[in-house]
Structures are given as C-alpha cells and as structure tokens.
C-alpha cells in the first residue's frame, strides 16, 4: 500500500465513516423520535433536535465519579464511536468502490459491531455505580443472547454464496443471482436480523441495559458531557449502519451502478428502520432472562432452520430454498 492509498483511506474513514454516518445516523434518530411522537399523538421534536442534543452534551461539564477507572471510563465511548465509524467506512467502501475494497470481510464487521456493546459494558463497569453495573451485566447477557442467531443468519449468506465472505463479493454475487432474501432461507435470515438489530441498538423491547425508568440510564447513568455525547453518537451511527449491513448481506445492497438501484437500496434501509421504530413503539421492555430465552429459543430455532434450508438448497440445487 502506498502513502496515497493510506491517506485516501483515512479521508474515507473520517469523511464517510465518521461525519457522513454521524449525520445520517442523527437524522435517523430524529425520524425515530418523530415517529414515536406521532404514534403517541404528540407533535415531536424539530429535525435538528439530535444535533442540538449532541452539541449541548459536548459543551457540558464532564464528571468522573470518584474511584472510577479513567482509562476505561473515557476509553469506552471512544471505542464505541471508532468501531461504528470503521464498520460504516468498510460497508460504504464495499458499496461504492467494490473494486478497491481490500477490507471487506464479514467477520471483521461482526467483530467491530460487537465492540460498541462491549464498550457499553466496560464503561458501565468502570463507573462504580451499582445501577451501571447492573446495566453492564444485562448488556453482556444480551450480547451472549443475540450473537448466536446473528452468526447463524450470516452463515446462511455464506452457504448460499458458495463460501464468499467478502462484502464486495457478496454484493457482486447478489447482483448476478438476485438478493439472498428472495429465497426462503434468506427471508428467514432477514426475519432473524430484525430482533438482532433491535437488541444491538438497545431499543425497546431489548433496552434492559439502559432502562430509563428502571435503572435511570443503566450503564450510562454516571456519564455526562462529551463521553455521553460519544455514546449517543455511536448509537445514532449504528442506527444507520446496522440496517445498511443487513441490506448489504441479505437484500442485495445498494449498487452504485445507477440512481434507481441505489435509491431502492436506501429505501430498503429506511424500511428496516421503520420496522425497528414500530417494534419499539408497540412493545414493552422484557426482562433480561426473557430476552435471552427469546434469542436462544425461537430466534435461534428460526436461524438454524434457515441454515438447514440453505444447506439443502445448495446440495440439491434448489434455488428457492
């Protein structure tokens, strides 16, 4: 790799991965709050509200609780934002510049997507607050719960593509043979993705780690000022990135070949976001053991069924499975 390439990647990471994703994510956060307000017959906030929140938090005092581990307390929000930006940069590199994408591995994305949750666990545990510790332990259980069906759903993609694991190759395969979600196993994998996205974002019914009314913010209870803004920003960025990832691996992505397919891909992302917002508004928070049981029970069963169907379809050459 030459110096120019490294510089280009840095610019890509900052421009697309961080700034572009942050703006898109905050706008999606606004859509989430506005739709929530409309569902409750309220007017809702103005469009710039998430931006105002982040700017305000950046300007506030940052308090470190007595006895907290400074490294973990300040490091974890940075890790959360950085990993969200990195995932987004990789996804958009695979979408917009597939020929040059050398870091397009799905496994890297899986690892990076778990980092914001781990950062929340670390930050909550470092805060020396019993409620934050409870929130951190719940987040940890939730991660254990949803990672299994998440990996199984991605296994469907590997099987159906004949062992491809690079994002750019997956996109190319789908544009040649049709989106994976059109087949039965792919549709099941997409159905599995919906609650997994919900849990990764910490939205109701899986917001046990932050439980506003129960743990008063949970893992985030001791955070104020800039670190809190970083966590909010990371969540907003994931709100955009996770649906984009699901669309890329299962729904054919958003090929940059023309305006039409690209907009169609973005509409699929918006569709997934709307599903997440509607689930969040029509469900209560479940208890953590119910959430884990839900993920290890029905969701894993559906994901396993999708894997079996995909294997059958591949070995007998049945396309629609």
């Amino acid at each position: 790799m030459t110096v120019e390439q490294v510089l280009l990647w840095l610019v890509w990471l900052l421009g697309v991965g961080f700034i572009g994703t942050a703006i898109a994510g905050l706008l999606i956060t606004f859509v989430d709050r506005k739709v929530t307000a409309r569902v409750q017959y309220r007017v809702g906030p103005p469009w710039y509200q998430p931006f105002a929140d982040v700017v305000k938090l950046l300007g506030k005092e940052t308090i470190v609780p007595r006895g907290a581990s400074r490294l973990a307390f300040f490091g974890s929000p940075l890790v959360a934002v950085a990993s969200a930006a990195l995932v987004s940069a990789m996804l958009w590199a695979a979408i917009l510049r597939p020929a040059e994408s050398f870091v397009g591995d799905v496994f890297v994305v899986v690892y990076l997507l778990v980092l914001p949750s781990l950062a929340l666990v670390l930050g909550g545990a470092a805060a020396r607050n019993p409620l934050a510790a409870v929130g951190a332990s719940r987040e940890m259980k939730l991660v254990l719960g949803y990672e299994l069906p998440f990996i199984l759903a991605l296994t469907v993609v590997f099987i159906k593509s004949g062992g491809q694991i690079r994002l750019a190759q997956l996109l190319a395969f789908q544009s040649a043979n049709g989106a994976f979600a059109v087949s039965l196993s792919g549709a099941l994998a997409l159905i599995v993705m919906v609650p997994v996205i919900q849990a990764k974002l910490g939205l109701v019914p899986f917001d046990q780690a932050e439980a506003e009314t129960e743990l008063m913010g949970g893992a985030l209870i001791e955070y104020s000022g800039a670190p809190l803004a970083a966590f909010k920003l990371a969540k907003a960025m994931l709100y955009f990135t996770l649906p984009v990832f699901a669309v890329v691996v299962l729904c054919g992505g958003m090929p940059a070949t023309g305006v039409g397919p690209f907009v169609l891909g973005l509409l699929k992302v918006v569709g997934l976001v709307v599903v997440a917002v509607l689930i969040r508004n029509t469900n209560p928070r479940v208890r953590i053991e119910h959430a884990v049981r839900f993920f290890w029970g029905p969701v894993t069963a559906v994901a396993a069924a999708a894997v079996v169907l995909a294997l059958l379809g591949e070995s007998f050459g049945i396309g629609w499975l």
Binding site: V43, P46, K56, I221
Partner: protein, 141 residues
C-alpha cells in the same frame, strides 16, 4: 450567546426532584410530557440520571431529610445546570411553614433561576418557568 448556550436552550433535559411534595406538583410535571403539552417539541426530555440533567425541577416543601440529598443532587449535576422551583411549597413552604419537620425553602440551599408559583402550578406555567430559567442563564453569560 455562544453555540453551547444555544444548544442548551434547544435541548434542556429536565430532572425531577421531589423534596417532600404532596405529589400534586409532580403530577403536573409529568403532564408536560403528555400529548396535550408535549414539551419534546422544545427538546425537553425527562432525564433518568441527574448526570444527564440540564434543569432540576424542584417541588416540595424541603423537609429536613431532603436537605442533604438535594445538596448532593446539585453537586452531582453536570454544569451548566438550571434550577426551577415549582409550586407554593418550593417557593415558601405553603401550609407547611413553621412545621417541626421542615428546613427552609429551596432557594436557601440551591441557586434558583426561576420560580413558578401555584398550588399546583399549571403545566403552561411550568413551561414558562423553564423558559424564564433559560433566559436567566443567557443574561448571566
């Protein structure tokens, strides 16, 4: 007015402090979040943790047990933070004045930015109180 204050004025997250109130003012505070008043229009959210708060809504007559706790809450809040005293009790202890269980009114212990009289005050008055507190903050800067 700097960008910091502008953003603060656009998203004041409120934290609800009850210092031994009769629950009447507390219900009026919660009214603000209902569809009829919907203060999220102005970016107001109810914060669960005092660390996230930009504005303490203090109601109640401030009994002796509450005094150290209210002081601690104020210390724990990230500055700049506003204080709005809500209801006759928070302003002058109302009918509880002179009771053996009471300390002094809220502004003896906290720097109050706005006072909202009433027993209980109307939700509109509480919204006006938060707006007044933000104005007071701007003037100070």
């Amino acid at each position: 007015m700097g960008l910091k204050l502008k953003a603060l004025a656009k998203s004041p997250w409120v934290f609800h402090v009850s210092t031994g109130s009769c629950n009447n003012c507390d219900i009026e505070v919660l009214d603000l979040l209902t569809p009829r008043f919907d203060v999220e229009r102005f970016g107001v959210l109810l914060a669960g943790s005092v660390r996230h708060a930009d504005c303490l809504l203090v109601c109640g007559a401030m009994n002796r047990k509450c005094i150290p706790r209210v002081k601690k809450l104020w210390e724990q809040a990230a500055k700049p933070c506003l204080v709005v005293a809500i209801g006759s009790c928070a302003l002058g202890q109302g009918v509880f004045r002179g009771s053996y269980a009471m300390g002094e009114p809220v502004d003896k212990y906290l720097p109050v930015h706005a006072y909202v009289p009433g027993c209980p005050p109307k939700p509109e008055a509480i919204i006006a109180g938060v707006v007044e507190a933000l104005k007071a903050l701007k003037k100070k800067e």
